[in-house]
Symmetry: D2
């Protein structure tokens, strides 16, 4: 019988978008089960969430230190924790979990600041537990396949990378109208130094490097605040240069009115181009110099193992998220090489935070080209 | 705390496509949990499946009569069963479940023959348990929304309905190459009288009536067997007439080479037209006489309650399937009106089987227009 | 210097859609020039049209017999005539032209009735002049390429053909509101026996046979009149059987509210499927049993000679129409084999009229399967 | 009778892509006719082109000064000239034409350098003739409609503009393989200082300002040469800031392998977003904060006057080009306000050349933000 890992969650209480996603994703493939949690700093809200998750009330805790301590004492105590809080709590929770011997699946970004990310890296290195970051899009089968295609050299040397993450949901100041999702994201205390760049720009940044295998070596960032009264950026345009010689652009926005979540990646090599759009996540388009276009479909060909359904039966965001959880389960079971491989780990977290902080600083200073170093180990 | 209903499954063993879908869908919203089953008639295969599902080995049974009897004796015995077997077993399993006081979620079609469907209708009527049929596509939020739009009269009187279900996976005789999915579907003993018409034509038939609210009153069916050696149809074209005056076409095929699963529905009324394609299930397109087109997106507007994620975060087949399970859970908890309302019940099952049998017979006889009656109660 | 053929037009006066298209198409490639005409039976309207076309007023004639006679007397007299009138005038004009030694490019359908088409066939056979029918869609490069692909056997034996021509512009009775385009099309005197079937159903019928090379051998036609008060059909659904064993469906409608002109053809063979949509006329999609899809683009590969622009520079309806005119010019210059080959000629005209009349009669009679013979020579 | 203006062409000889387009576009609406020309500097090639254009051999000239002089002496001499040469010849030809009283339709860019553009501006100002630049995309009906929609304030204050012009045809060094189109474009002598930026970047730049009504006030340009051995850029990424406060990005490339010509413009305002893609030029998409999307189709609504066909009958590149010629004919006939209004004139030419030169210089210098002034009059 497969082992079903007992899972805790911190955050993800009433009104949370990503909490339920973590729960559904963790349980989808039957390898983990949510059994404990601290779903809110407000005990009443926490209990309400627990009831909705059908969690045993005795395993709903007032705070995460208490949870990790109590669970450790149980034979069936949690082995993994999902962190679904605002960014500023990621570091202390992850550190406490690792110290308690609990594996960590953290929502992105890794932390609220680079300094925190570096501290977390120390904690991860000092631990033998798994630390994984849910850069969700890395869990889509066609993104994995795209990565393999690039790695196999099918595109030839990479020349250009265009990555875009357009959203429009913050085009009005809904944070002042009681929208909880908006409120913490535009608050520097909870979100950290990055607004749009930290919330979705990091997804775009990560995806570009994840699929292409190329590394950003310099950039010019133009981060703007379009909705008056916000302290953080809500719109970003970034010119990119890659160490391997490619040029690129990263466009992210939360004020692209009417856009939903159509993260789009295009990579052009000497021989072929590649295109993936989140709106049609089951497809991957390859373009050739001779002009004909190939469309690959999820569930066909080599990605069969990653797809749960026959071709033409769409899998979505939850399924992609679940791919990361399935990989984490496999990593816990021994395949540690998955972490930092197909599954983003702390290195991706540190690199993303460095990107966010460098971009914010450079943009505020009005700098032109800013070099972007690899993280020293 | 929400109640989590203990669920059993019959069928869905190794190699099954739909068994794991039932499990994932049933558990997705946290209202049911798979705890027992008879996953195969082969005990070893059944145990292998149970291990993969992480089922307690003591709740894996050699046959479904034993299961229902044993579970009935437990305080925590199963309350619902998912039927994921070939069609010919649907009737006896469903009947046994109902007789044991277990609610039924059956894969489509209801049974292998109309006669069986009528017998099952008697059993359902004699029971106070819920009986639901997983006409999956009825669980998509945009299909529910389309249904509401039509019901509200937004399209005006309906004039034309075109429904298509093209697949290509049976364009070669893969049933002779060991494909288990193909093997039972082309076998009259397991599949019943309908091949393509019974496997996917019923989905198309159901969806057309489900969304439009119109009822087929006559048709001309042309069912063909394109791959030599098959006993059942693998390709169907049907002219439709609806009681309300609309005309229509139903096209289904398993030999449309290269097609995956792009079930498509178009309904044209006097004022507007409506289009939905499974390949872009999160969208619903409305066309107007003045020419401009509106595209509605899942997660926005009135369907918010049915969608689990923010707009632009695709939900797929599993999530649609799970919508039916969530509705079944609500029906079991008291909202019985959902069954036969938004959730297909035995009436839909009988009607679909009557359509299959009438179409098969009329096509074989080379008939022209064949009238299609409402089912007498 | 290339020869520029002097061209006349009959019909195409003020308010005409297709008259200006014939003019633009004939002149696009610089091989013909409109110099004379009878643009309306109303002399004033005819003169107005001539002025808009910049035609020498002395070459605007009161009727076509006068025109053919007068032009014949000129050294630079017209050598070709475009017929852009309502259907009932096609036969007498074409006959008169041929009798005067003038080549004919006729708008479709060939005539208003089958009897007329057969008479026209006699006239064409008795003449050494070119007779071409503007089944426009046969002029699209990707349709020609699709035809070549099928002819080369790339799809394997053909199993299924689905052709659709959805329009919505007649979903209200605009013919009663002064719309001239609508008025003659719904009038049996001017349009002939077919409404939708004769106006656009013939395009679909012709295209299906033209690309597939298959021949319809039997059908069930369901022609309906959805807008009360019309004498002719405005909506058609037809089941098809082809002599080579394929099944098929033809769907055409003028009351598919909100549809513009998205003629769509799908052909499925044993090895591959093929799809073309008028809305993206520059593309041709090939689907394979292994699942990957290829998209071919106009201007690339073997169709380069048919496309006037580099790939990605869209050509449209006028350019497709012009392809037929270019071929007619080539046929006049000696390549007579083009007519009845890639360019539809009188045989296509007779066959289409037989289809229209047979379908109308069979539908009115409520017939089931009706056999459809090849035209005796 | 409408007046048909006699037209000359310079350039556009054998192998030219744009010469035949100018001819087809000029003649499409029947307002101009090509009657004279200097199609190549090589007399034999020029005569060959003339024969293919069916030009009277006596009106094919060895050079443009001779042509303008000779034609001036004729009662039916040319009134308009199309300039379809490489960029370095635009200035002298345009100047000569204006000096001879001949209206000018010039292919873009205006000239090879900014200095030349300023000189041409003087010549245009000193003349009473029309000077128009074929920024082709400004001739698409849906681009005109988009411009009207923005001007009417429907989008609200503009926040973000993303314009992309991806091509892949120069991803290999085809200029060394005899491709004439490629050869002059990569040659600084014929093309001027800009490669990709001058060939297609200017289209993107012009379109962004043309539709949005916003003016670029600063930028960071990253122009690269990806194919070794080229003297000019073949890939461009540019961050944009607009005077009205919007941010933006311009991406253009000739080495985006497999891309054809999918010029794409997105404009986001406070209330709505707008999207247009050349691949589906007949459509305009409007997105709203509430989430629903509207798709407008050419030939419907207020753009009817600009579209020649019923909705759903695609018009393409030639038709868009012809819209500019039709407007030029109207301007010559008296509506001079069209030039510099919907039709790009010398001001657009000067501004584009300033953009090209400033971008090239700033990129070579590795500058960050570079301010971009309005042109002093």
């Amino acid at each position: 019988m497969i082992e079903v890992l007992p899972l805790a969650m911190v955050g993800g209480g009433p009104g949370s978008f990503i909490g339920p996603v973590h729960r559904m994703a963790a349980e989808l493939d039957g390898r983990m089960r949510l059994v404990a949690g601290v779903f809110s700093s407000d005990p009443e809200r926490s209990r309400a969430a627990a009831a909705a998750y059908a969690i045993d009330p005795t395993r709903v805790y007032p705070d995460y230190p208490t949870m990790f301590e109590s669970e450790r004492a149980r034979a069936d105590g949690v082995q993994v924790v999902s962190i679904a809080t605002p960014n500023h709590l990621h570091l202390p929770i992850a550190t406490a979990a690792l110290a308690s011997g609990v594996h960590v699946v953290s929502d992105k970004p890794a932390t609220a600041t680079l300094k925190e990310a570096l501290a977390l890296r120390e904690a991860v290195r000092a631990s033998d537990r798994v630390y994984a970051l849910t850069y969700t899009y890395s869990g889509y089968p066609m993104i994995r396949r795209a990565r393999d295609i690039v790695a196999a050299g099918e595109l030839g040397p990479i020349r250009k990378i265009v990555v875009e993450y357009p959203q429009g949901w913050l085009s009005a100041a809904i944070e002042r109208g009681g929208n909880r999702q908006a409120a913490w994201r535009v608050d520097p205390v909870q979100a950290g130094v990055g607004g749009c760049i930290g919330d979705i720009g990091v997804h775009a940044f990560h995806l570009a490097e994840y699929v292409s295998g190329e590394r950003v070596s310099a950039f010019v960032a133009d981060l703007r605040t379009m909705v008056p009264g916000r302290a953080l950026d809500d719109d970003c345009n970034v010119l990119l240069r890659f160490a391997g010689g490619a040029s690129g652009v990263l466009v992210a926005s939360q004020v692209a009115t009417g856009e939903r979540n159509n993260l789009t990646l295009r990579i052009y090599g000497e021989r072929k181009g590649l295109r993936w759009c989140h709106e049609r996540a089951d497809r991957l388009t390859l373009t050739t110099a001779s002009g004909d276009t190939s469309v690959l479909h999820a569930g066909q060909g080599t990605d069969g193992a990653m797809f749960r359904l026959p071709p033409g039966h769409p899998e979505g965001f939850i399924e992609a998220f679940a791919r990361i959880y399935a990989d984490v389960a496999a990593a816990i079971a021994g395949k540690r090489e998955l972490i930092g491989g197909v599954v983003p780990g702390i290195a991706a977290g540190v690199r993303s935070m460095r990107f966010v902080e460098t971009a914010v600083a450079a943009s505020h200073a009005g700098h032109g080209w800013t070099s972007f170093e690899e993280d020293a180990s």
